[in-house]
């Protein structure tokens, strides 16, 4: 079994699309995959389960991989978390714009 803690980086958290991406990727592997947040554990191959975790940006999750291809599964899934589910971080540059927009 591989156990690994990750933090949600993308702004929208594990909402519908990221959850769907995660489940789709996890389902490619034979290993079982579980996600735990604050003592609640769900099956990482269940989109309803993943969504019900309400994992927001900044949430800490524990990922568990159990099975023959657990090393590959862990590598691929952790990479997906690291990449922030491919969301563009375009707005970062604009964060200082607001000063001029006050009334």
């Amino acid at each position: 079994m591989i156990k690994k803690e990750v933090e949600i980086k993308n702004r929208t958290g594990l909402h519908t699309r990221p959850a769907a991406m995660l489940v789709k990727l996890a389902s490619k592997f034979k290993s079982d995959f579980f996600i735990e947040k604050n003592g609640v554990e769900v099956n990482g191959k269940s989109i309803i389960g993943v969504m019900s975790l309400a994992a927001e940006q900044g949430s800490k999750l524990t990922l568990k991989f159990i099975g023959e291809d657990e090393v590959e599964a862990a590598r691929a899934i952790i990479e997906l978390f690291e990449s922030g589910f491919g969301e563009i971080e375009e707005l970062k540059k604009d964060e200082n714009r607001d000063g001029s927009q006050n009334n």
Partner: protein, 577 residues
């Protein structure tokens, strides 16, 4: 029974007279039933078939929703479809049927409820909404297990009365010859309203207490023009409305004959009638309905899930429209979106309508605006394309826009690509500051197009999608009429043409005023073209001018409307509903 008139918001035009069917979303009854060992396979089979049936239902709804609402509006169904594909939960349910030996719907209800409760208890609004979706989905599957014919109560045409309708309900009922929709909640931009208009089903929304006063079986008259619902009308009212219905249908037939006639007043003043479109496919319909060109080609549809196609792909779309409408012209508007539509990482704004929208996004993000401008320029090769910019609020922005267009042109020249060097550049007049600066701005652009929806919203400070204040959204507010008149006059002084592409242009009442003010072009939904042509062909320009001048002296919307109504009755009685 006493006649009762309830006032709401006119959401979709038309008149319906019929029997009310009160629609309350019934939660299917689930009771626990033990099953025998030999029944287990049958039970699992029932469950799996219900999943398949639910999937095909949702697919149909999803496709229809994408078509009518765009991918944004269809998102809820997409989420439901994804959830329906959850193999882990499906397997778990099958497992439990085998072990616990109880009926499928009980297990489905029990298992899915766990997640619903979980989602509801979270503090996350998004997740609470998804809990509703999951609940909807659960009920759909259970209904399908029970093979209940949900719509069996639709034995004949009915007016559906509900507290609120989901887009799925609205679409499904429309296949069952529903006569109209009446809802307590909702505003003019709610999904029910948009869909009802797209499906051409009369609707009145935001009635607040319709479900309290209307019972299933009551006779109801729905007036989608005035936004009223009459419960238990007496015979004279029914006769009156039946007569109106007959007049409308006869009038529709008459309109058809106008297709190939010019939009010209009795005394010979010609106007140009154009169509607003959202997709290239709509060009055919626009031409068929008699449009001389496309006055507004919205380009937002191209953006799919926040991804903007590159210059080449955009060019393919724009050239399609330019070629189809040739020798007619097409005015292509650059992306009119909020930052939230493109950037997943977008930071929430307290007032999105006063925030980062339209040209503000374009000017801040040249990597979005420039490829679009190059694509539009490349499509202008036959000189029938114009470019238009949304949400302009100041002269500085106009100057920046012009620089951007010049930059895009020079980039194409460097690449040796040909385009219309003299492409016309116009702006939407939809922010009050731009309207008030019309004289100065008119000297720097080639045309104006007045976008009334936003102009009214910003001038009156009313969000018309908000049902609490929708009633004070007034198209005929004297302030609006004065602004419009000022914009048209300012444009003409600078010798540039003005068109109007907001919803107001498609309103027969308003069109009299607009032609009287001297607007050059009206760009409306393809469906409204013939109606507006009929108005133009029925008046003398001289009279329209007189009416519009008089209309400017009134102090309230009510006075304006009463005056135009009286005048119109004398000119085209069909319109004086």
């Amino acid at each position: 029974m006493a006649v009762k008139i309830i006032e709401g918001i006119p959401a979709s035009p038309g008149i319906a007279i019929g029997i009310a069917l009160k629609y309350e979303k019934l939660k299917p009854k689930v009771t626990k039933k033990e099953i025998k060992e030999h029944e287990i396979d049958v039970e699992i089979d029932r469950f799996l078939r219900a999943i398949e049936r639910s999937k095909s239902e949702l697919h149909k709804i999803f496709t229809l929703a994408v078509e009518k609402l765009g991918s944004e509006g269809a998102q809820i169904f997409e989420a439901q479809l994804l959830m329906l594909d959850d193999k882990v939960i499906i397997d778990r349910i099958i497992e439990r049927i085998k072990i616990e030996r109880v009926n499928a719907e009980f297990i489905v209800n029990d298992e899915v409820d766990k997640y619903i409760k979980f989602m509801q208890s979270s503090g996350d609004d998004y997740l609470k909404e998804r809990a509703h979706d999951l609940e909807d989905l659960k009920n759909r599957v259970i209904r399908n297990i029970q093979q209940e014919k949900w719509l069996s109560r639709f034995d004949s045409s009915r007016i559906v009365v509900a507290e609120n309708l989901t887009p799925a309900d609205t679409l499904l009922f429309s296949r069952n010859q529903v006569l109209g929709y009446v809802t307590d909640l909702g505003g003019i931009t709610s999904h029910t309203a948009i869909l009802a208009r797209a499906l051409k089903i009369p609707a009145v929304v935001g009635l607040r207490e319709a479900t309290k006063f209307i019972k299933t079986g009551d006779t109801v008259i729905l007036d989608g023009y005035k936004g009223i619902v009459i419960v238990n009308p007496d015979q004279s009212l029914i006769d009156e409305y039946q007569e109106k219905l007959a007049r409308i249908s006869e009038f529709e037939k008459k309109l058809e004959q106008l297709k190939f006639l010019p939009a010209e007043t009795i005394d010979g003043k010609k106007f140009t009638l154009l169509a607003n479109i959202e997709f290239p496919d709509e060009v055919d319909e626009a031409i068929q309905k008699g449009a001389e060109g496309i006055g507004l080609f919205r380009t937002e549809y191209i953006i799919n899930n926040g991804i903007i196609p590159d210059e080449d792909e955009q060019f393919e779309e724009y050239i399609k429209v330019a070629e189809k409408i040739y020798p007619g012209k097409v005015v292509i508007r650059t992306f009119d979106i909020g930052g939230d539509k493109i950037f997943r990482d977008y930071r929430k704004e307290a007032n999105p309508f006063l925030g980062w929208r339209g040209i503000r996004v374009g000017l801040d993000k040249p990597d979005i605006l420039l490829p679009q401008l190059r694509a539009i320029l490349r499509a202008s090769i036959k000189r029938n394309v114009m470019v238009m910019f949304p949400m302009v609020a100041s002269l500085e922005e106009v100057r920046e826009i012009k620089k951007m267009l010049e930059l895009a042109k020079s980039q194409l020249r460097e690449r040796g690509i040909k385009f219309d060097e003299g492409i016309k550049l116009g702006i939407m007049i939809e922010v009050p500051s731009a309207a008030l600066m019309a004289k100065e701005i008119a000297k720097e652009v080639n045309f104006f197009s007045i976008g009334t929806n936003d102009l009214i919203q910003y001038t009156l400070a009313v969000d018309r999608g908000n049902e609490t204040v929708a009633k004070i959204y007034q198209e005929f507010h004297p302030a609006i009429l004065r602004l419009i008149q000022f914009v048209i006059e300012s444009a003409h002084r600078a010798r540039i043409p003005v068109s109007m592409c907001g919803e107001m242009a498609g309103d027969p009442y308003a069109s009299i005023l607009l032609i009287g003010f001297g607007i050059d072009e009206l760009s409306v939904a393809p469906d409204s073209i013939l109606r507006i042509k009929q108005v133009i062909r029925s008046v003398k320009y001289k009279d329209a001018k007189r009416i519009s001048r008089r209309a400017l002296v009134f102090k309230t919307q009510e006075e304006v409307k009463a005056f135009i109504s009286k005048e119109l009755k004398g000119i085209i009685p069909e319109f004086a509903f």
